[in-house]
Each structure stands twice: as C-alpha cells, then as structure tokens.
C-alpha cells in the first residue's frame, strides 16, 4: 500500500518536471487558430518583429500568431530542432542564413514555402524580390524553400568626429583596403584607441570578402551543386587578406572584437572609428551613438580583376516546420502561415520593416516606395546595403551565397582559426589550411548523414 503511494508520488513528481505542451492548435468555437512562431531577434529588433506579427493578427481574425523569443539565432535553431524531435515543433521558425544548408536537407521536417503557398492558393510574387535575397533560399531549379524576411548585409560605419580629430575629411570614407590602411594609420596617429574592427569575423572577412572579389568559399558553386562540395578558402586571395589583417592587428590598426556580434558595441561607444557591422546594426547605432556617423560599402582590393561585385546577405528567413517526425499539421494551420507570408510580402509591410530596422528592402517595390517617401534623403547611407547587394551586374556562382550543410559549425571553425591566427599562432596560409581541413570533415560528416 505504502509502496504504491510512494510510486505514485514519484511518478507525479517526475511528471510535474516535464512540462507537457500541446503544440496543435485548432479552431474551436470561433477561436482563432493559434500558430507558434519562434524568433531569434533581441531588442530592439525583436520588438519590431513582434509589431509586424501584431499587425498581422489585427488584420484578420482567423489566425493568431504567437511570437516567442528563443535566444540567439543558433539557440533558436537548436531549440526548433529539439522540439521537432520531441514532436512539438513551432509552426514557424526564424532561421539565420547560415542554417540554410541544414534546413534544405531537412526533408520532411520542413514544409517548403512554394508548396505551402500553392496548396493554400496564396500567390506571392517572388519575381520582384531582390535576386541576392530570394536566391539564397531557393533550390537550384528556382523553387522557394523559405520565406525571406530580415535580410542584411555587411556595411562599413565610420565615426565622423574621429575622422575630424585625425585631420581626415569626415565626408570621405575609405573605399579600398589600401585607402583604409592609410586612413587607419592616420586615425591611430590622431589618437584613436582602435582604428577599425568588425563583428561576425567569418561572415564579414571571409564570406563577404570572397563574394565581393568573386572568390569561391567552396566548390560546386559554394555548395549549391550538391552535398559533395569542398571548401576552397585556401586560395591566394583569402591568404593575402588574412595576412593583411594579422599584420594590421599587430600594428594596432585592427582590433579583433570577439565572435558573432560582440564587436557591435565597439562602434557606438566611440572606441573604434571604423567598424564593419551588419546593416541590421543600424537601429542600435542610431540609438546609442553620440556622434555623427555614416555608412559606406565594404572596402575592396582594387587590383583584383572584376572587384567589387555584390556582397551576400546575412540575416534570416522564415521556415515552416512540421510538428514532428510524423507530420501532424492541419491544412488550416498551413493556410494561416501562407496568409502570414502574403502579409509580410506586401509592399507597405515590407517598406515599414525596412525603414524601422535597417534591414534591406526585400522587394524592388519596397525599395522604390522607401525612395519615394524620401527615406534615403532623410537617412543618408540607408540605401548603401541594397546598392551594395545590387552592385556588379549578374551574380556569379561565388556571389549567390553559401549552401553548405553543417555551416553553423564551419563558421565557428572559421572564427576559431582566425582567433588562433590573431594570437600569433600562425600565418594566413595556415589558418586557411586548418579551416579547409576541419571544415571538409564537417562537410563529409554531413554528407554521410544524408544517406
């Protein structure tokens, strides 16, 4: 008797520790269908995203989207994967561009956007989307796999006061690396604590630089051609650029500001005079910087033929997920997501999102609308990201983006090896060789998992 009670108690205790969450939503008695949406944007961007969702919820009463902040992009991705394995995935998840390769290979975990829209009979005109944006999330034959939402690219912010103090023209940012090097020396001589830095070291110094100079990150068109791609970063261009960064760091011109977005703080607090950051950092810089500043395109090497070309995007797109390995979504739930996708693709919504956040306008119509509204006159430099994405004519297979499985891990490897090089543990050549060796192992593992 006693034993049974204790067993019951133990069971109850264990059960109490495991929160049951029923992710299925159904319309009951006129209640709107509830759709879970996990995102990875901290404030202030997260609040702005939730504002878009609130506007959608107000615009109709059949569906209600519930946004939840799940930590950083990679934490959100991991949380969604774990929830899927536990059969309680959110309907919609915001996934950073690095995870695209992994998501595309996710098979039945994902409901491809083109399928979702056509089943619901909802039409979104992807032809008007910027090629650099939509192409990143399309299969090789042009089917849309996820919904573009917040796309950024990297741009260069400069502190006009610091330029003035160093006797430089505050309205003339450096355009090439050669000019940047000279500018940085003058800034340092003029007393700047740190001449230039960047956040997202792998994304900006390896991925963006490769695209701008039409150099490959990986074979098979940066992995668009299949799972058997191999890294190609150990090329003369990347080695040269890495050696330059190492030398500039030793000279005290370049400051390595940490992984991911850690260096974002170094610009608005006035410590670094020049910073290469995401275009999405614009709202933070606007809010925090107590000095006049401007944005310009990323510098390039003018002796590389064909440079500069378009940069590639960062940021995230929206993926619709199945509830778990057994599927488990109703047509009504998918319909609600399709309606939301239509909502965010509307020119008004897309334009407002772009102007509020600094993310690039996703469609040409949104770009034109922002232009007509005088947004770029009032905010000089806000059109730099999109101009940089459209630069250089037709995209090449090196400038379309990156489609590698396990790329979250590879990007960490790139950061780790860059840190080792900046610690003085090796040359640019050694760093690129190590990235290639370690990264290829990740690619082979991923390829094996897809069988």
């Amino acid at each position: 008797m006693l034993r049974r009670n204790l067993a019951a108690c133990a069971f109850a205790a264990v059960a109490g520790l495991m929160p049951f969450w029923n992710g299925t939503a159904r319309a009951q008695g006129g209640q709107p269908v509830e759709l879970q949406f996990w995102h990875g944007l901290a404030q202030p961007l997260g609040g702005q995203l939730e504002g878009v969702v609130a506007a959608f919820n107000e615009s109709q009463n059949r569906y209600r989207i519930v946004p939840t902040y799940r930590g950083s992009y990679s934490e959100t991705m991991v949380a969604a994967i774990a929830a899927f394995r536990a059969n309680s995935a959110p309907h919609l998840v915001q996934m950073f561009e690095v995870g695209t390769g992994t998501m595309m290979a996710a098979g039945r975990a994902v409901k491809p956007t083109h399928e979702l829209l056509s089943e619901a009979g909802v039409n979104v005109d992807f032809g008007d989307y910027l090629p650099a944006v939509r192409g990143y999330f399309q299969t090789n034959d042009g089917r849309q796999m996820s919904m573009p939402f917040n796309s950024s690219t990297a741009v260069m912010y400069w502190n006009k006061d610091a330029f003035r103090r160093a006797g430089l023209d505050p309205e003339k940012p450096p355009a090439t690396w050669k000019e940047l090097e000279e500018t940085a020396r003058k800034l340092k001589a003029g007393g700047a604590a740190c001449a230039f830095t960047n956040s997202w070291p792998g994304w900006i110094q390896v991925e963006q630089m490769s695209a701008i100079h039409d150099q490959p990150i990986a074979s098979l068109g940066n992995g668009f051609g299949g799972f058997n791609a191999e890294l190609r970063v150990n090329n003369p261009f990347m080695v040269r650029h890495m050696d330059n960064l190492i030398a500039w760091q030793k000279e005290g011109l370049y400051r390595y500001g940490g992984r991911d977005a850690a260096a974002d703080a170094l610009f608005p607090n006035g410590e670094c005079a020049i910073a290469m950051l995401s275009a999405g950092a614009r709202s933070r810089v606007t809010r925090e910087a107590k000095f006049p500043w401007g944005t310009a395109m990323l510098p390039y090497y003018d002796d590389v033929p064909g440079a500069p070309r378009n940069s590639i995007i960062g940021g995230a797109s929206l993926w619709s997920l199945n509830k778990g390995p057994q599927g488990g979504r109703s047509a009504e739930e998918w319909r609600g997501l399709a309606e939301f996708f239509r909502f965010v693709s509307q020119t008004d919504v897309a334009t407002k999102w772009h102007m509020d956040t600094g993310y690039v306008p996703l469609t040409r119509a949104a770009y034109e609308k922002a232009k007509a509204a005088g947004y770029y006159k009032e905010n000089p430099g806000a059109d730099v990201p999109i101009e940089q994405l459209l630069r250089g004519g037709e995209m090449t297979e090196n400038t379309r983006g990156i489609r590698l499985g396990g790329y979250v891990e590879i990007r960490n490897i790139i950061q780790e090896e860059m840190e080792k090089a900046f610690q003085g543990q090796g040359t640019g050549q050694q760093a690129m060789a190590a990235i290639t060796a370690r990264g290829n192992q990740v690619l082979r593992n991923f390829e094996r998992q897809q069988r």
Binding site: R3, R85, G107, R259, P325, E409, E419, K420
Partner: protein, 293 residues
Amino acid sequence: MRRKVIFRGTALPLALLLPQLAVTAVFFLWPAGVAVYQSVLQQDAWGLRTEFVGLRNFADVLADPGWRDAAWNTAVFSTAVAALAMGTALALAVQADKSIRGARAYRTLLIWPYAVAPAVAAVLWLFIFHPSIGLVGRALNSAGIPWDTRLDGDQAMALVILAAAWKQVSYNFIFFLAGLQAIPKSVLEAAAIDGARPVRRFWTVVFPLLSPTTFFLLVVNLVYAFFDTFGTIHALTGGGPGNATETLIYRAYVEGVQNTNLGSAAAQSVILMLLVVALTMVQFRFIERRVHY
C-alpha cells in the same frame, strides 16, 4: 561501533529506497543509457535518418586532434581548479578557526559565493576582467599590460580557472572548517606542551588528521571541475579564443547542442563518463590507503 538496524519484512525498506532509486533511474540511468545507444548511431540533426555505425564515432573522436587538445585543457584546468580552490579554502579555514573577534561574520561571508549561480559568478568575473568594460581589465590595459581574454588563450584559461575556483572555495571552506573543529583540542595542546610550534603543529598534527576531508574534497573538486564548470566557461569565454578554454564537457556540448552531431557528442559523453569512473576508482584504490581515518 556500527550497529545494524534490521527492518522486518522487505516492503518498508524498499519503499524508503524507492524515491532515490526513481531519481537515479530517471536522471542518471535513463539518460546514460540513451547516450550509450546514441553513441553507436549516426543520425542527421532532425532524427529522420539513422544508421548503426558501431564504434566509428568513438574512433573518430579519439583520432580528432581537437578532442585531444580539449583533453589536455581539461587536465590543466581541473588540476589548477582543484589545487587553487582547496589551497585557498584550507588557508582561509585555518585562519577562521582561530578565536578572533567577528569570526562568525567572516565565516558567513566566506560561504556566500557558494550561493551564487555559476553563470552569475562568471558574469561577475567578466565585469571585472573584461578588456574594455571590466574594472581590472581596463586598469591593466591602461597600465601598459596587454590584457585581452578574447585573443590571449593563456589569459583566458587563467580567468576561467580563477572564476571556477572562486566558486568552489566556499564549499571546501565549510568542510575544512568542520574538519578543523573536529580535531580534539587535547591533541593540539599535547603537541604544544611538547614544544611544537604552530607551523609544525599544522603539518604534523592538523594536516594528517584532516586527510579524510582533503581526500573527499579532492574527489568532489575534480568532479566539479570536470562537469559543473560548464556555465562558467560558457559565460566567460565560450571555449575560446580559438579552442584554448574548451574542456571535454564543453566540447561535448558544442558538438551535441550547437552542431547537432548527436552520435559524436554521445560518444564523447560516454568516454567522459568512463574517464571519471576510472579516475574515481583510482583515487579510492590508491590514495585512500594513505588516508588516516
């Protein structure tokens, strides 16, 4: 001295054991079993494609130079944390054991850090030693000593050791203090009458009598450094710069949670489990013999 308590029947003792057994089964046996099972599988992140690969995950892990670096980091880190945390705690306990004014207040203050969550403690240390916003970090830099834990692996390692050890000093302090107070005063007085000075009294009387406590703490501290310092490392350095502060447990986390390679992460956890079992067995077999109970 031992008295055996005999229960009548088996129902009551079983019932009394059941909660503990249930907790062990749910929080240890089940997850450990799943880890062993996962370690022989290869699976994609979503769990949709699974293949049995035998011991290949183990072979891959052991052949990985990155894993061996992490093993070395773990050895350095654990030894340093255990030595620093125990040494400091013993020194403090000996001082706090003296009859001085306000001894109770000191004792309470020394126990405080134990109540601080590892991640919070790490953030505290970050605010002190961060190269651009930390109090000491800034002072060091402006004094001309280059201090940057984001780029200098040795400095980063020193910082995580310091933060992890600080957290554990309180725990060790409580046990050392209790151990010191359990030493009969008469023994010390006898030694004093025989002419032994305080230092000699400490090394020849107090320290040997403390050895059961020291031994117990050594095991606890090593296990702490192996497993419970994840939060500290995660919040302070994230395993970086490069892989300079990546310990085995942190690497298993990165592999399993960030990179979603469950097979490899499970293999790493199983190896880690075996290592700790082996370490504990060695300690109890060889070191316990020399401990005076």
